[in-house]
Amino acid sequence: MIATRIALGIGLLFIVSVVIFGATELLPGDLANELLGQSATPETLAALREQLGLNDPAPVRYWNWLTGALTGDFGVSMANGRPIADLIGARLGNTVFLALYAAALSVPISLILGVLAALWRNSIFDRAANAGALTAISFPEFFVAYILVLWLAQTGLFPSMVRINPTTTFGDRLYMTFLPALTLMLVVTAHMMRMTRAAIINLMASPYIEMARLKGMSPLRIVLRHALPNALAPIINVIALNLAYLITGVVVVEVVFVYPGLGQLMVDAVSNRDIAVVQAVALIFAAAYVALNLLADVLSTITNPRLMHRR
């Protein structure tokens, strides 16, 4: 069953690659024309088209692009002629670092808050946690980011701009990226916390929860040992969705904090009409989405004895 899932994931990525390629094909304008601009003569245009392989039929160009991408060769940037793999490499690392940082903060916090809110449901704590979560999720992320800059960067506690390079130490990185990570945490925690709470509360009326109460188990044990294992599937899925968001949806936050991640790169590439870079980044984002959802499916399957242990 897990093998089928993986095969489906690969098939899905393949379709996505076709869509990405097709969509960029549809964009108006001629690449050679864009690159040469005013100075273009019919001869130079023809030569450049030949050099870029633009005269080949679309399926051939797609095939060349796909096989290149599979071996890590995304071609060269049309804006500055550098290999795209080099452009992406460091930035992908930065994006993943920020995503993991935000996830390391938000996943435990949202699980703990969610469990406690379910345990003390309808209490002051539950209401406060829910209200806080809703508030955080209601503000646009750039607003949250600027508020944090106002409170925490203006006072000099944390830097408002992230200046990192490959030589920055791990500790410095954590310190410098704290504000973007905190912003992202505030944005994604609410969703995960509320799902954890709802998934657990949903089960609290089950006969096996009543049985646990009648066996004299404590409320905390009931929630952790009897409800949580059965609530894992929806929680895992919502975490995966939020992790995917942390990788692919952080463009605004990266721009606010001038963070050198993939989102920035994509925005720049779009404004420069650097189609090859846009394609590459879009493919990476899609791969992240598919891979994380695949992982969520596999984990949900593993945590469900009814799927793992047949009769």
Partner: protein, 539 residues
């Protein structure tokens, strides 16, 4: 038998919340239980049996609250004691066995882990010892493979085995008192006696006191020393088992005893050709074969009962007839002509002729639709009724099922009792004006008195409209009451079939014999005698 008093409940009052209002559902119950004694608690649903049983653990479900009286367990006042003290008693000195073991075991953990939880958490014994003990108790409960069964997940174990595993789990801390809340109600007759016998034996072995809650008198008669009858939160009467069975004092108790006196008069043998004929049907779910060469006939104006334990293929046969599951081979004739096998191939008129009534009226009725729509829809779809004609038809149907149209026509299913919902299921089937109605365990989820009402209604409608019923059930008392013909199924095959009189007279096929002898009788010695006779037969 003047042993020490273990549990003493006095003047117990419990309120339940319905919407915003609190209504009293237990109205001043007294109950005394001595050490090692088994008390049967009897009544129809809504009588407050389970609520009283849970109150004996100092527990009230969400939406219920204990408002009066005292609950003394071994000198501890469970109403006054702090929650921590109550929690320390639950699972350790007072244990609970729930009606549906399949739902009450946590699907995420292995049986033995759930077994060990109470002894370890309550500090009775370490895990190794508890696990060792579990195997011993599994063996005493006559579970197959006692060493290995604990390492399975609940979904890997059958319902009857789970119920025994749950009883073993309740025994884990050797409690003084166990509350059995309808432990055999959800089981087949054949499984029911095995579980009943195992429960009775283990309670005796460990000299455990028990409150045995059920709505089946014959079942409680086998296990209880005393019986207490409840009705709508009030006590009707209490007496030692034998005395209660032989000489019930109150009219209500007598009515409980008399429920099964209903019987439809014998019908003359069928003259005409069968209206529907199932011919050599074999069917499978995917690769799993479920029906093997099944044939039987359904006659107009007669009831054919299809009996057998769960998994015997009764409901699958109904799915084949209705076209929901096209058979692998064989076919279905309606009035002599073959019906298309799949639902899609059938005409609207062919669909109209066979209607179904389901076991769980709760889930078979769309909770968002008013009765007008629930009943009106088939009349509209199959018969093209509109406007005034439709309204009249809906009202006639409500009259037929003995519900006042003015009161009920705009109600939602949620506003009806279980028996009323089942009546709506009947009206919905009737609305299509079918020739055949398939009743799939339609009375199994209902109390005996409500069951009787439904059976009488079905019989009256049958006589009035000449309907043919296919009655799927595992309850042989119902078969005795209303069937004309009987088909006995086991593992997808027809074991025996014929007119009722023949089926209930010996000699029987061995499986029919097993089914018939498993129906509990209103005699406290029935189970003992039965087990003895089976033991001697198997030697």
């Amino acid at each position: 038998m003047a042993r020490e008093v273990l549990l003493k409940i006095e003047g117990l009052r419990i309120e339940g919340r319905a919407g915003d209002a609190w209504t009293e559902i237990v109205k001043g119950i007294d109950l005394t239980l001595h050490k090692g004694e088994v008390l049967g608690l009897i009544g129809e649903s809504g009588a407050g049996k389970s609520t009283v049983g849970l109150a004996a653990m100092g527990f009230a479900r969400d939406g219920c609250r204990i408002t009066g009286g005292s609950i003394l367990f071994d000198g501890i006042d469970l109403r006054q004691a702090p929650e921590a003290e109550r929690r320390a008693l639950r699972g350790k000195r007072i244990a609970y066995v729930a009606q549906s073991a399949a739902a009450s075991f946590n699907p995420s953990h292995k049986l033995i882990d759930q077994y060990c939880e109470a002894p370890v958490i309550h500090g009775v014994m370490p895990r190794d010892e508890a696990a060792h003990d579990a195997i011993d108790l599994y063996r005493r409960m006559q579970l197959p493979d006692p060493e290995g069964i604990g390492f399975r997940y609940p979904h890997q174990v059958s319902g009857g085995q789970l119920q025994r595993a749950m009883t073993a789990m309740a025994m884990a801390c050797r409690p003084d008192l166990i509350i059995f809340d309808e432990p055999t109600t959800a089981l087949d007759v054949t499984t029911q006696i095995e579980v009943l016998a195992a429960i009775r034996d283990i309670v005796r072995q460990f000299d455990t006191a028990a409150i045995y809650i059920t709505h089946d008198l014959a079942v409680v008669a086998q296990a209880a020393d005393r019986i207490k009858v409840l009705l709508r939160g009030d006590e009707v009467e209490e007496a030692p088992t034998r005395q209660m069975l032989e000489a019930p004092r109150e009219d209500y108790t007598k009515s409980l005893w008399a429920v099964r006196s209903f019987a439809r008069p014998e019908q003359p043998a069928p003259q005409a050709a069968p209206i529907l004929s199932v011919q050599n049907v074999s069917a499978a779910y995917g690769k799993v074969p479920v029906l093997d060469d099944v044939s039987f006939d359904i006659h107009a104006g007669r009831t054919i009962a299809v009996v057998g334990e769960s998994g015997s293929g009764k409901s699958t046969a109904a799915r084949v007839i209705t076209g929901l599951l096209p058979p692998k081979s064989g076919g279905v004739l309606f009035e002599g002509k073959p019906l298309p096998l799949a639902l899609k191939g059938r005409t609207r008129d062919q669909l109209r002729q066979v209607q179904m009534i389901y076991q769980m009226a709760d889930t078979a009725l769309n909770p968002k639709l008013r009765l007008r729509e629930l009943i009106g829809r088939p009349a509209q779809m199959y018969l093209g009724l509109q406007g005034k004609a439709l309204e009249t038809r809906i009202r006639d149907l409500l009259d037929l099922i003995e519900l006042d149209p003015d009161t009920y026509i705009d109600r939602l299913p949620g506003e009806l009792s279980g028996g009323q919902k089942q009546r709506i299921g009947i009206a919905r089937a009737l609305a299509a004006e079918p020739k055949i109605i398939i009743c799939d365990e339609v009375t199994s989820a209902l109390d005996q008195i409500v069951q009787e009402g439904i059976l009488k209604l079905l019989t009256r409608l049958q006589d009035e409209f000449g309907l043919a019923y296919m009655f799927i059930t595992h309850d042989l008392a119902t078969v005795r009451a209303i069937a004309d013909d009987v088909v006995v199924m086991q593992r997808g095959r027809v074991v025996e079939q014929g007119p009722k009189a023949e089926m209930f007279a010996p000699p029987h096929a061995p499986y029919t014999e097993l089914l018939l002898s498993s129906v509990p009788e209103m005699d406290p010695d029935w189970l003992t005698r039965l087990l003895e006779s089976r033991a001697s037969a198997s030697v």
